[in-house]
Amino acid sequence: MGAFPPEAVEAVVFGGSTARRPADGMTPRFAVGDGVVARNIQPAGHTRLPRYARGKPGVVARVQGVFVFPDSNAMGEGEAPQYLYAVRFEARALWGLDAGPRDALYLDLWDSYLDPL
């Protein structure tokens, strides 16, 4: 087991820790404005893709950069960093016509969660 020395506490608490990783030559598969569909996946392990978004269409609103992939990191399968995108979903695409016509939701979604529209 590693150690967590007292002098490390202040640096982490006040400096924060980040899941951002270097791109290392990776390039984003999607650009701002691209239409995407959240994959209909039901992984038994950890995922950050909520059920209500699966199979739903959205638009890439921002390319966030490269981040640790929680689905693999949670399962002891390594950080496997990949591109993360802020994807805008119209509320009506998620919840149907009862939702407000001008409401929208932004989800930060990893590359593995997305297919091109």
């Binding site: 087991m1 590693g2 039901q42 950890h46 949670a74 998620l94």
Partner: protein, 107 residues
């Protein structure tokens, strides 16, 4: 995993409280301790990290998950992380809790 934690869009939980920003960060001292313990466990225990900690919350029994407060879920997560890593066993935790209960009863 398609667990009870994935509550987005579910009905029946009432309105979302507003004005939470004025609320205390920790409602009880033990909540702050669990926050700190989780931080250290996810930093140094083999196999543990922030995502494994989150997944451990998702693996809480669904009925227990709904009944638990936010930091009770963190506590259960920490227990899973340290027992999964073999730092101690469920029995060790139960024994320790029983000992502390006895000690508290003596005071």
């Amino acid at each position: 995993m398609d667990g009870i934690h994935d509550m987005g869009g579910m009905h029946g939980f009432g309105a979302v409280p507003r004005g939470e920003h004025e609320e205390a960060v920790f409602h009880q001292p033990w909540e702050g301790r669990i926050f700190a313990i989780a931080f250290v466990v996810e930093s140094i225990v083999p196999g543990a990290n922030v995502d494994a900690g989150r997944h451990a919350i998702e693996r809480i029994d669904p009925a227990a998950y709904l009944a638990a407060s936010y930091y009770e879920r963190w506590l259960r997560s920490v227990e899973s992380l340290i027992t999964d890593a073999g730092v101690c066993s469920d029995e060790d935790i139960d024994l320790r809790v029983a000992a502390l209960r006895t000690k508290a009863a003596d005071v």
